[in-house]
């Protein structure tokens, strides 16, 4: 999968789960501070990424990811 496609699908998922416009989502955006995520939504984001990419992520490590760019990197390791 191309990096661009992964990024776009990550943005789509974030937009749906957090209910924010895709335009507002940048690689450096922090989920809580910049995108207004409540901490409880991190579990939903993890499940949504797993669903989108058909992967199973290591939950505790996944919950440590704080920005959109880091999420893309984190997901990539499961797609190889």
């Amino acid at each position: 999968m191309e990096d661009k496609e992964i990024y776009e699908r990550v943005v789509k998922v974030i937009s749906e789960v957090l209910g924010v416009d895709k335009e507002k989502i940048k690689p450096e955006s922090r989920f809580v501070e910049d995108l207004g995520a409540e901490s409880v939504q991190s579990l939903e984001l993890v499940a949504a990424f797993e669903n989108e990419f058909d992967i199973e992520m290591e939950e505790e490590a996944a919950l440590e990811v704080k920005t959109v760019g880091k999420a893309v990197e984190f997901i990539k390791q499961y797609l190889k």
């Binding site: 749906e16 789960v17 957090l18 209910g19 901490s39 409880v40 991190s42 579990l43 939903e44 499940a47 949504a48 797993e50 669903n51 939950e59 505790e60 919950l63």
Partner: protein
């Protein structure tokens, strides 16, 4: 009789259904078989039957009469998924299905749907995970916006104090402090069957010092009194003014039903709360029960990952009494 033994006796009268999402953990299995045998609560283990039975066989625990639920096999799974989606509007069905298959979320949905009374987890999962799962499923009490925790401190002379928050909120603001006070007052009333007298603690008594940290506590008292009229709140008090009547008489000029008589102590932040409970435990020889989670619409409790079987049973008893 120790306080915890009294709670266990009272829990027996209720014999509530309690769900354990960490159904394959050895300590949980032993605790479940004890709870069933002693008729303290009706345990429900989440997980695959053959896996749980294998662990039980290895440790020779009798789970023959314990209910085991595998989220993927229950006929009401779809009902729980739609119930989840009613609470969480942005979540698509496929994602909700994935979430509800997770033991912590599934357990939370069993509580939310009323199929069981309470959930106890955290022997394997982190506290943050337990809190988030409960927030997503059970949700918070009206007028409460986040989870907090309390400790029950039972002193050798028989006195009992509730301390909060000693484990969850690091730097609560005035609104959170007021919420913590309210949630702890509710639990004091339920567990102790007595009137909670809630003192907000500080290094200042009724304006004896002025500092932004004192002002935060003063504001919290005002908010609590305004918002939660059913309970007695007062402060800000230094700790001695809160619990020693002779000191209170000297330092507090106005009439107060709390000063010198407080039984619920609200600490200004986690530094103070956590230090205070450990000092009380080790210097005063108090038994410390907790941290018990609070603020959820229905009780959910966290265990420490080092919890022993005895701790699990105690937590279950206290959690059942919160229902």
């Amino acid at each position: 009789m120790k306080l915890i033994e009294r709670f266990i006796e009272e829990a027996k009268k209720l014999n509530r259904k309690v769900v354990f999402p960490e159904g394959t953990d050895e300590r949980i299995i032993i605790a479940a078989s004890e709870l069933k045998k002693e008729k303290i609560a009706q345990p429900v283990l989440i997980g695959k039957r053959e896996e749980i039975e294998k662990v039980a066989e290895n440790i020779k625990a009798d789970i023959s009469e314990i209910e085991i639920i595998n989220p993927e096999e229950v006929d009401y799974f779809d009902h729980l998924v739609s119930l989840y989606m009613e609470h969480r509007k942005n979540i698509k069905k496929s994602i909700a299905e994935k979430l509800v298959k997770r033991p912590l979320i599934f357990g939370g949905m069993l509580v939310a749907s009323g199929k069981v009374s309470t959930m106890v987890a955290g022997a394997v999962n982190t506290t943050a995970n337990v809190i988030q799962s409960a927030a997503l499923t059970v949700g918070y009490l009206p007028e409460i916006s986040s989870a907090s925790s309390f400790f029950i401190m039972a002193l050798p002379d028989g006195r009992v104090f509730f301390y909060a928050d000693c484990a969850v909120n690091i730097t609560p603001d005035e609104n959170q402090l007021a919420e913590i006070a309210y949630a702890t007052a509710l639990n004091y009333k339920k567990l102790m069957k007595d009137t909670p007298k809630v003192a907000f603690l500080s290094f200042s008594t009724k304006g004896s010092a002025s500092h932004p940290l004192v002002e935060k506590v003063q504001k919290a008292v005002e908010i609590a009194r305004e918002k939660y009229k059913d309970f007695l709140f007062d402060g800000e008090f230094q700790a001695d003014t809160a619990i020693v009547e002779s000191v209170a008489k000297r330092k507090v000029k106005e009439v107060s039903e709390v000063a010198g008589k407080a039984n619920v102590l609200i600490f200004p932040d986690l530094n103070a709360g956590n230090i205070a409970y450990k000092l009380t435990q080790y210097l005063a020889g108090a038994d410390a029960y907790g941290p018990i989670l609070q603020g959820f619409a229905k009780p959910v409790s966290d265990l420490s990952r080092g919890a022993k079987v005895k701790d699990i049973i105690g937590t279950v008893a206290i959690t059942c009494l919160q229902t």
